[in-house]
Amino acid sequence: MMSIDELALDPRAVEDRVRAPGFGGVVTFLGVVRHVDERGRSVEALEYEAYDSLALAEFDTIAGEAGERFGNVRIAIAHRVGRVASGEVAVVVCAAAVHRKAAFAACQYAIDAVKARAPIWKREVYADGSAAWKANEAHA
């Protein structure tokens, strides 16, 4: 259910990992690279770098926690690494549950946890070619 890859993300394919009979609510979060940062600087791309094995294990841990909190939920997380241009999708989190309330809660829990805890770092690349590492939480 979890993946980290340099290829462009396909949100529908990630959704398909969680869709299952009886799961009436599916909530998908797309994290899209913004074209300006908090200080108004023009951003061309973000460059993501992951400690893959640890990040995938953390995704599993997060999904397990969501299940403990919100009951019978199915969670899929796909994170892109490498250069992601502004306007492109950097992360997809899908949560499916029997009812929509649990699906929303689980999806939001999972993306919050991914941003706070997954060993994934990013660098903003500006229009002038300069770049700066950012705290993971800053981008969406």
């Binding site: 997954a118 060993p119 770092w121 660098r123 590492w133 993971n136 939480e137």
Partner: protein, 79 residues
């Protein structure tokens, strides 16, 4: 003994092409980190450095063994 090194983000850039470090038998993560800081003082700028040994998050007092893989990276999130 030899401990293998990997690093991420700013720590990776500062570590350059160094792939291992020699430490005394019984050395801990913190000992390896001190040796690295001596060799590459700029590593002190890594924000909230964290460690993993053989793919598991580890505290600085974790004892290292021959051929362990020590991962070094900045704190995640919270920014």
């Amino acid at each position: 003994m030899t401990v293998r090194l990997i690093a991420f983000a700013r720590a990776r850039e500062l570590l350059g092409d160094r792939r291992s470090i020699e430490v005394a038998a019984g050395a801990r993560v913190s000992d390896a980190w001190s040796r690295l800081l001596e060799a590459i003082p700029d590593l002190s700028e890594v924000r909230g450095v964290r460690f993993a040994v053989d793919g598991t998050m580890s505290e600085p007092d974790r004892v290292l063994h021959e051929n362990d893989e020590l991962a070094i990276f900045p704190a995640v999130g919270g920014g």
